[in-house]
């Protein structure tokens, strides 16, 4: 048995871990006992934990072919490996989440999104097909439009074991990003700026959710891939140097409380506001700022932390976000990093995004945070919103079931027998 947790280090559960190196290993595991497949463990909560059998897919990380931007690879390959192999050849993932340390299978299962969702959609947009092992050990290839494909993208590994997939990469002329940053002083201003920037390829905002004087202040970052002519002559087009990693010790969270957090937030805003404007940023710090800190999940101490991420439909968002932010400020639990993003429409059956605004925050794993998050759940539901399963570690079943799609998903799993074979601590908790 191995004590295992998601990236948030909460919850930690003893699991029997089985490692797969080839398709036969997966088949043996699938036929042996109920299981959940696990990639690189970057889901925050309990989505990739199963005490009876957790199937570690990181040994299946082969890239099988590449032609004209189309890559066939096994599920355990990391986005970091893909970037390392293909960015120097002028290709970059079409959609990437905020860490490059996710596995391909995990990106598909969670149907991850990036800063370009409003333009390019979720990870699904780049997937041509997925090979999935069902409960009978048979492998089927599913493609957009197939029922099983639509449930698999966002299905959290509960539709079978993702073995391999073909994805399309995006051609880029350089590894640099032209970034325009704007300092804004209220939520309303921030939303207006997002709406005005709907054709910006990438957009994301950092927003102050503390109860300090700068509550609602934000830094909006717009970006696009730099073309050759955007680069100074002496700048190499492709910079692949791996950044050194700064180790993070346990026990830092003491710094992140109350007044200190307010000060950190307003200092950050002022610093960024002074530097607002255009800049050329390298791909790694633009897309993956936190990957530069090894184990930044340990910032919150041994008990770990919990992410809260919800999405609110476009018309309900201004009111809902204001209420969410007020509740956070009032709780004095303010999150160090609160991130706001504009989404485009939903695509797959059970994926997280919908046209509107998504707010993500992390809180230390403790009673007060859990109570706060229950309050945030209520506000979200009252505004027609829903929650991101890849970040969830603690939602109540009733909350999950408020999303009508959850019942349909659970019914489909029950009818087809999938529920009896593919299960995680999360799927049991939420009754999926």
């Amino acid at each position: 048995m191995t004590e295992l947790s998601g990236w948030g280090l909460f919850p930690q559960i003893d699991c029997r871990v089985v490692r797969a190196r080839c398709e036969d290993d997966v088949r043996k595991a699938v036929l042996a006992a109920p299981l959940i497949a696990r990639g690189n463990g970057r889901a925050y909560g309990d989505a990739a934990l199963n005490p009876g059998q957790t199937l570690d897919m990181t040994g299946m990380d082969r890239m099988l072919s590449f032609k004209d931007g189309m890559l066939v690879a096994e599920a355990g390959v990391l986005l970091a490996d893909i970037i390392h192999a293909f960015l120097p050849r002028g290709w970059f993932p079409l959609v990437t989440p905020g860490t490059k340390m996710v596995s391909l299978g995990g990106a598909i299962a969670a149907d991850v999104h990036g800063k370009n969702h409003h333009v390019d959609g979720s990870f699904r947009s780049c997937v041509d097909w997925v090979e999935l092992m069902g409960m009978d050990g048979e492998v089927s290839r599913v493609a957009p439009g197939d029922e099983l494909f639509e449930w698999t993208l966002g299905g959290m590994g509960l539709t079978g074991v993702i073995l391999r997939a073909q994805i399309r990469l995006r051609p880029v002329e350089s590894s640099w990003i032209v970034q325009d940053s704007k300092a804004l002083t209220s939520l309303t201003e921030t939303i207006d700026a997002f709406e005005a920037a709907m054709d910006a390829p990438y957009s994301v905002a950092w927003i102050d959710c503390t109860d300090g004087p700068q509550h609602g202040h934000s830094i909006l970052l717009l970006g696009r891939h730099a073309r050759s002519e955007d680069l100074p002559a002496d700048r190499p087009k492709f910079n692949l140097q791996r950044r050194g990693k700064i180790p993070v010790p346990f026990g830092m969270p003491l710094l992140f409380k109350g007044r200190a957090l307010q000060l950190i937030n307003s200092a950050y805003w002022r610093l960024k506001a002074r530097r607002a404007g255009r800049a050329l940023v390298d791909w790694d710090s633009y897309f993956y700022p936190l990957d530069g800190l090894a184990n930044w999940n340990k910032l919150y101490g041994r008990n770990g932390f919990i992410q809260f991420q919800c999405v609110l439909p476009r018309d309900m968002a201004p009111d809902g976000l204001a209420k969410l932010m007020a509740a956070i400020a009032e709780s004095k639990q303010g999150s160090v990093l609160s991130v706001l993003k504009r989404f485009g429409p939903q695509t797959s059956h059970f994926s997280f995004p919908m046209a509107g605004y998504t707010l993500a925050m992390d809180f230390p794993a403790n009673e007060r945070s859990l109570a706060l998050m229950e309050q945030l759940d209520k506000i979200t539901l009252a505004h027609g919103g829903r929650f991101y399963l890849a970040k969830d570690a603690r939602m109540a079943q009733a909350v999950a079931k408020a999303d009508p799609r959850a019942e349909t998903f659970a019914a489909m799993r029950k009818e087809t027998g999938l529920a009896a074979r593919f299960a995680s601590v999360q799927s049991e908790r939420l009754g999926l």
């Binding site: 040994g59 082969r62 890239m63 890559l71 192999a85």
Partner: protein, 244 residues
């Protein structure tokens, strides 16, 4: 330096990591193992990631009669040959069944020594090349818990040492690799102390570095050198009472 690199016992976790290290450095790769068709995906992976040429070859370490033909049949005599062949078996089975023990001895000593002997002669004739043998710290001193495996690795370590001594004047270098614990299929389900346990990628990187620097003996985690120095120097009357 970008000549072909042969990896014997290519299906293991360490071998895969080693192949990636050398593939990333731009070497064409020759993968060799039993049931060569199961190396196909690894071959495609190396070619896709690094754009290097990869070939796969049928090779059985225990079929020593076939080794001369195997070496002669390679598309090119490799610049570097890395032997990752080995089998740990279980000590209890080896104790109960000497025939099983012999298979472990053959897989860890006889087979690897035989194929490296053929490669050594060919490289000696050419006047250049590097041979890498992945042995084990288990060969540094026989212990009750795995002395059959350990004794074969001890033999292999001594073989590599002698080979290095012989070939150093002929332009051929020999690297002995003593990995210690590595997170591989071999150790699955066995608890090992984290500071002493390396990832396969560390072994891959360490071997690439050792080949380039012509290091003689490497412990992939340096702490092992100290650990084994202590274990080797425990006086026998004391050692026989321990259970390390």
């Amino acid at each position: 330096m970008s000549g072909p690199v042969l990896i014997l016992g290519a299906a293991s976790d360490i071998a895969r990591a080693v192949a990636r290290s050398f593939g990333e450095a731009g070497h064409p790769i020759q993968l060799a193992a039993r049931n060569a068709e199961r190396l196909e995906d690894d071959a495609r992976d190396l070619a896709t990631r690094y754009g290097v040429e990869v070939t796969t070859h049928e090779f059985d370490a225990l079929e020593t009669d076939s080794h001369a033909g195997f070496v002669a049949g390679l598309p090119a005599l490799p610049e570097v040959a890395i032997c990752a062949v080995g089998a740990m078996g279980t000590q209890t089975k080896s104790e109960a069944d000497p025939q099983a023990a012999i298979q472990i001895m053959r897989a860890n000593y006889e087979g690897p020594a035989s194929v490296l002997a053929h490669l050594a002669n060919a490289m000696e004739a050419r006047g250049s090349g590097t041979l890498v043998g992945i042995s084990s710290v288990a060969g540094d001193r026989g212990r009750a818990s795995n002395y059959v495996y350990g004794s074969a690795k001890a033999g292999f370590t001594a073989f590599l040492s002698g080979l290095r001594n012989r070939l150093s004047k002929q332009g051929v270098h020999v690297v002995t690799v003593l990995p210690g614990f590595v997170k591989t299929a071999m150790l699955e389900g066995i608890e090992t102390p984290a500071p002493l346990t390396a990832e396969p990628e560390e072994v891959g990187a360490a071997i690439l570095k050792a080949v380039r620097r012509k290091t003689n003996v490497i412990y992939t985690r340096p702490v092992w050198r100290a650990v084994m120095a202590v274990i080797r120097n425990i006086p026998e009357p004391v050692f026989k009472k321990t259970s390390i």
